[in-house]
């Protein structure tokens, strides 16, 4: 299937990579930092810091303050309004609740909520959670039974945490970056230094060169992602529901797609300076649009169809399907069709634009 020169060249690329201690150390650093962050934060969002100034100090207001402090979603700092306001402006607090002096049961108690409106994303969420909190506090104070309660049940009946959602996307994102650096950046570097030209003085053909890099990088990327996956499963107690074969199958197909795209970007870039913005132009929008940190369904409806078709989206959501829902790689669905289409497209543009006579000179 592979020729001796292809395999030898691939082994050389692996050797070069393995001997590069610095990049080896740094490539292990990211997964360690990543798992470390989630290990210490427990994978759950931190409570929101709010300030609380109680200017009333009557029985009701004290009871109210105690009840707020019991809520897990808030970390409460008590103090004087002036002092707390300074902290709010400095950004140490996200919101400040002021219990006014005439806070009592006879009238509707009016609370003042001070916010930094530039924290747009948080304002809505804080207002909503405060509203519902006030409601439950009110019930407790008046000792009434709520008319409705909400029992949240996961239809998929398994513990699903944010980290479970996040990990497959992060793996896919790393896969993309490692591949584009592995083929695109290297191609530009080898060309600039005349190494490509030296290679093509020998009877090696462009396809031999592409195959060797793809082979070598696939193996390197598989090892890197295995390390992260191993750490995640071992330390973060991540549960991979689907088969590992399927998961690594997607990784291999994804590596192929992104390595080919890397070749294409490397062929486009004429200089070492140009490859960085060109690669960023490709990777950055995908980081935002491909549902790595937030589900694609939270994007504006107009963008969603485009976002879903991006190469990183199909890879990430396919990995998520396997890891979280136990779907097999071979299940014919949108993602599989997307992956196969991107394989054809990326291989086509990689071979079409990789003109070694131009690339080598």
């Amino acid at each position: 299937m592979f020729t001796k020169s292809q395999l030898h060249l691939a082994s050389i690329f692996i050797k070069i990579y393995y001997r590069d201690r610095q990049s080896l150390a740094f490539s292990l650093m990211f997964p360690l930092i990543f798992t470390g962050i989630f290990l210490f934060s427990g994978g759950e969002p931190d409570p929101t810091d709010i300030g609380l100034a109680n200017q009333s100090q009557n029985e009701l207001s004290i009871q109210f303050v105690e009840l707020i402090k019991e809520k897990d979603i808030f970390a409460v700092t008590e103090g004087e309004e002036v002092e707390l306001k300074k902290q709010l402006i400095a950004g140490d607090l996200t919101a400040l609740i002021i219990v006014p002096e005439n806070f009592n049961q006879s009238d509707t108690g009016r609370l003042r909520l001070l916010l930094d409106a530039s924290q747009v994303r948080q304002v809505g969420a804080i207002k909503d959670s405060l509203d519902s909190m006030l409601l439950s506090i009110e019930r407790e104070l008046r000792d009434t039974q709520p008319l409705f309660t909400l029992d949240i049940e996961d239809v998929k009946a398994r513990p699903q945490r944010y980290i479970d959602f996040l990990l497959p996307g992060i793996l896919a994102y790393m896969l993309m970056n490692l591949c584009i650096a592995g083929s695109g950046y290297n191609l530009v570097e080898y060309r600039r230094r005349g190494i490509l030209k030296r290679l093509f003085v020998t009877p090696i053909q462009p396809k031999d060169f592409i195959i060797s890099i793809v082979l070598a990088r696939m193996l390197i990327v598989m090892i890197q992602l295995s390390v992260i996956l191993g750490l995640a499963v071992g330390l973060l107690n991540i549960n991979i529901i689907g088969g590992l074969y399927s998961l690594f199958g997607v990784i291999i197909l994804g590596a192929f797609i992104f390595l080919c795209i890397g070749f294409f970007l490397g062929s486009l870039a004429k200089t070492q300076e140009a490859i960085r913005p060109i690669a960023l132009l490709f990777t950055l929008p995908q980081l935002i649009l491909s549902g790595i940190f937030f589900p694609i369904s939270s994007l504006p409806a107009l963008i969603q169809p485009i976002a879903q078709a991006l190469p990183l989206s199909v890879i990430a959501s396919s990995m998520r399907d396997i890891a979280n829902d136990g779907i097999s790689l071979l299940t014919i669905n949108f993602n599989l069709i997307g992956i196969l289409s991107w394989m054809i497209i990326s291989f086509f543009i990689a071979t079409k634009f990789f003109d070694w006579q131009k690339v080598a000179s």
Partner: protein
């Protein structure tokens, strides 16, 4: 026996002043290089030496004309041609973190052959550097290693592109001796240079290029007889540098 036969070779590039126009980097060149000779392409910078050489090697596409190397057509059979030639390029960069032995084994594998790196390095006087990295070598050693890389497939023809540029006199002599030895073992050598002493000492025949064309072609001795000015006084004698300057003019080239 003719081993390299180039007929009406042409290469055009977009003109640096006006991209709409092209200029001829190589203009209708004819070359006929004999087996087992050392053939020199001489010319000022920008004369088209390297372009010509790279067209012979199949590294640069040929706009017009054709080249036969040992009976193989460079345009239609580039990979067969590359199997029987060895090429030393002007730049001397290799993959990082590979020592001389790794690199020679790598290059041999690209020809699907295996070699004894130690023996090959001994041939170019680098046997004690087998575990060194190319960047640790001196200029002369780098050039010799570059030649070793070009020898992994035991080529019939060796192309050297300005092999002694930037070398000190000792390294230069050393490299000349290496070329002579290889030639005596039966290898045809084609080199470019703008070092007149090198052309005169090393080459059996010389072609002088200027502005993309060959303006003279013969043995160094004959060229001196034909073109060098008569020695004005007894001790002075013309050399190939005189030939070169009288043919290409004294103006500075870049």
């Amino acid at each position: 026996m003719v081993i390299i036969e180039a007929t009406n070779l042409e290469k055009h590039y977009p003109s640096p002043e006006d991209p709409a126009k092209t200029f001829a980097a190589v203009n209708k060149i004819n070359l006929s290089i004999q087996s087992e000779e050392i053939f020199g392409l001489l010319g000022p910078n920008g004369a088209g030496k390297t372009t010509t050489l790279e067209m012979l090697e199949g590294l640069t596409s040929i706009d017009k004309g054709n080249v036969l190397i040992n009976g193989l057509d460079v345009i239609t059979q580039p990979y067969e041609v590359k199997r029987i030639i060895g090429v030393q390029l002007q730049s001397n960069e290799y993959f990082d973190r590979l020592n001389l032995s790794d690199l020679l084994i790598l290059f041999a594998s690209l020809y699907s052959t295996s070699i004894d790196p130690k023996a090959l390095l001994a041939k170019v006087d680098l046997e004690n550097k087998i575990n060194a990295l190319p960047n640790d070598l001196s200029g002369g050693q780098k050039q010799r290693f570059s030649i070793a890389c070009a020898l992994v497939n035991n080529p019939k023809i060796l192309f050297l592109d300005e092999p002694t540029t930037g070398l000190d006199p000792q390294a230069k002599r050393n490299l000349w001796n290496l070329a002579k030895t290889l030639n005596e073992e039966g290898m045809t050598i084609v080199l470019t240079t703008h070092n007149m002493e090198e052309a005169e000492y090393l080459c059996d025949r010389i072609a002088i290029m200027d502005q993309g064309s060959i303006i003279a072609q013969d043995t160094p001795q004959q060229l001196i007889l034909d073109y060098a000015p008569e020695p004005p006084a007894a001790p002075m004698q013309g050399n190939i540098e005189d030939v070169f300057l009288s043919l290409t003019g004294h103006g500075l080239r870049d």
